[in-house]
Point group: C2
């Protein structure tokens, strides 16, 4: 009897724990980690790691500047088709995706896990991967090609171990995350895509990392293309006329001197410049593309206001410094990017599951702000985070961008990612 | 007897005048003007003026950026072939040309008359000619397409009226006058071309004008392409690293403030800028092309020295203002153009004949400095000038470049040009 009572008590406790377990993010993650299929899935990814690396290389070497993701998108579409997904397709804007069906009734809420296809590097950039040991160097290799390949590795491991989830999971390789892409792929998903009303949780896999950095905050950004326009003319014959390059130089010089706070982190950049027809012609136009970001909407607005003022000032100064007899110089200011900011509450189950998963693999996660596809759902109040795809790396957006695919570190981040995904989608 | 003595006296005076006439530039021009074939040639150009205009339009609408003169060169070669020229050909570098044989023995000194094929406008510029009355507006229409067509008109008129000259005349449509072309067409003519040792007088027909501006001075110029290079990186993640755009902005801003003398005329220009990969990347390089000119070699050198110093200063300042932990910023300074300066003496027969011709058509010529194909022979001590091709025009190197082909003004400049050419080559 005694033992019976004890057993009953234990059973009752277990039951209550189980119920509680289902309700807390921590417990959900623990259930995933305790599931033998999770261990088997990670073992599969470990065995299959060379394939992951070769797919990183293969995808990196298909150039995919923003707005020119077609070729890489087509390759990724084929790769998605080789896995057990339903409705693999390319939408109107170029996102490629497929659904991994869960056990819940069809058509319910789903979890989207996305990696962007595009890179910041223009057409013609040499994207050949240089390999030295476990280090791969190439433009775009870490931002964001590794993530694309990791999504495939997750799919294969889940298939092989027959892992099921409650929710459907939407796997996406999306277009237009970078630069002037201005999140167009993800905006389309939420504004026009066929799953727009079903995506209730969103994980952007972007960059490397072992789970130490979880972005639950979307850094707001404002991007401008400013074109300075003047009458132009002969460099010698018309010397003395207003010169758009000089106005732009003054504007860049003034911008470079603006003081921004370190906290909340606030940044500015002149990213691309162009204009002019020949060395011996006063340009009729020159232009620059400027990126400004802040964790704080207030600081972003302050920076934006100062920037717009200095642009106008630079144009005015040039009109005073040189002759306007053939026409005045004007600054044409165009907003080309406006990324919403916001935050998924740190207390939300999604963030908590990511934190618990990172801790479970031995990492110490920080909650940070970043500017990724997650900004879109965050701004709509839909829980969203950005996670890394494992491994280490640095110099994103530089020609010498690199990642290290050393297996221990690579698997550590993947383990945190898979645990989060299966906790969020509820392993069954 | 008395009358016989008188007649002998008159004859002697006439003879002596004739001998003198052959020796002074003024008299040579007078002989041309008095020749009935000259009047007939100008009448032919007058009658044929519509064809001149249509050839200006036709050639203007064939884009010919420096280094991409092929298509226009081919068209001009065909047009030269339609006239009575010997040895019509295209040389290795792309100059198209033919010889109009004189009565002197073959192989002697010759007069070259050249018009450059290239324009400052890059590929893709709309070069459609907009016509409003006698005004033609299009990039490159006056600099230097009108001159190309005028050379053909001169040829036709000389052929029709059977004008002969003592010297051979080499008619050339040359490449690479503008910008980074750096006079490569004319340099080739004098350094490697088959006529390099025979060209003893040189007339560059460049721009419009009724003979009021005769350039006997070559403005020296120095042209630089400066590339600011840094490590690049993510606009947000790597904010704080040195930024090539900021160094370039500072350099442009400093250059814009340099004080240069009006006399001797000295000028500077930032003509083309470029660089960067995406709005959200710190550029790994940005570049600018800078043109500096002066009538005075001393002033040019002063300006060049100041420029080189401010470029280095801008790079140094950027390395102090921001972080160099991923690498320092450096300025790569490349000389891309070096146009010799110099002067054909105002007392030289070539200049004097041009002055006399301009006066003969009722213009008041000024001797000026300019930077044209004539700089090359001038720097070699070979008499050379730049003349206009008739008519009026303005806004060279600007998109709204225009010429007026109103006949009176158009013919006035052509008359001065033809008189000069026939005086120099000696009408026979």
């Amino acid at each position: 009897m005694k033992s019976k009572v004890l057993l009953s008590f234990v059973a009752a406790v277990c039951l209550s724990l189980a119920v509680t377990a289902q309700d807390t993010p921590d417990a959900r993650v623990q259930r995933v980690l305790a599931d033998s299929r999770f261990g088997a899935a990670m073992a599969a990814i470990d065995r299959d790691h060379d394939r992951l690396v070769s797919e990183i290389i293969r995808l990196t070497e298909i150039p995919a500047p923003s707005f020119m993701e077609d070729k890489r998108g087509a390759a990724y579409l084929d790769m998605l088709r080789a896995h057990k997904l339903a409705d693999v397709e390319r939408d109107e804007i170029g996102n490629v995706m497929g659904i991994r069906r869960g056990v819940n009734p069809a058509g319910g809420p789903l979890v989207a896990i996305v990696a962007h296809l595009d890179t910041v590097f223009p057409e013609g950039t040499d994207v050949t991967v240089k390999r030295s040991g476990t280090r791969l160097t190439a433009p775009g290799v870490g931002d964001n090609t590794r993530s694309l390949a990791v999504l495939l590795a997750l799919l294969r491991a889940m298939d092989e171990t027959k892992i099921q989830t409650a929710s459907d999971i939407l796997f996406v390789g999306n277009v237009g995350e970078e630069g002037l892409g201005d999140l167009r792929g993800t905006k389309y998903l939420f504004q026009k895509g066929k799953y727009k009303d079903r995506i209730k949780q969103f994980i952007a896999v972007d960059g490397t990392g072992e789970g130490t950095s979880i972005a639950n905050g979307g850094v707001g950004s404002k991007r401008y293309r400013v074109t300075f326009k003047g009458p132009g003319g002969h460099s010698y014959g018309a010397f003395g006329l207003v010169n758009p390059a000089f106005a732009m130089g003054a504007a860049m010089q003034k911008l470079s001197g603006i003081q921004v706070p370190q906290t909340p982190k606030t940044t500015f950049n002149v990213g691309v410049v162009g204009g002019g027809t020949s060395v011996n012609s006063i340009p009729f136009e020159t232009w620059m593309e400027v990126d400004m970001r802040s964790e704080s909407p207030v600081e972003l607005e302050k920076l934006e206001t100062a920037f717009l003022m200095l642009v106008r000032q630079a144009a005015d100064d040039e009109n005073k410094a040189r002759s306007t007899k053939e026409g005045k110089l004007a600054a044409d200011i165009k907003l080309v990017g406006d990324r919403p900011s916001g935050q998924t509450a740190r207390t939300s189950p999604l963030v908590q599951m990511a934190v618990a998963s990172a801790r479970a693999v031995g990492s110490t996660p920080s909650l940070v702000f970043s500017s990724t596809d997650a900004n879109v759902p965050i701004s709509m109040g839909i829980p969203a985070i950005r996670l890394g795809s494992g491994g280490t790396g640095d110099r994103a957006h530089a020609l010498e961008e690199w990642i290290d695919v050393e297996k221990t570190s690579s698997l550590k981040g993947i383990r945190a990612l898979l645990a989060t995904l299966l906790a969020v989608a509820e392993i069954r």
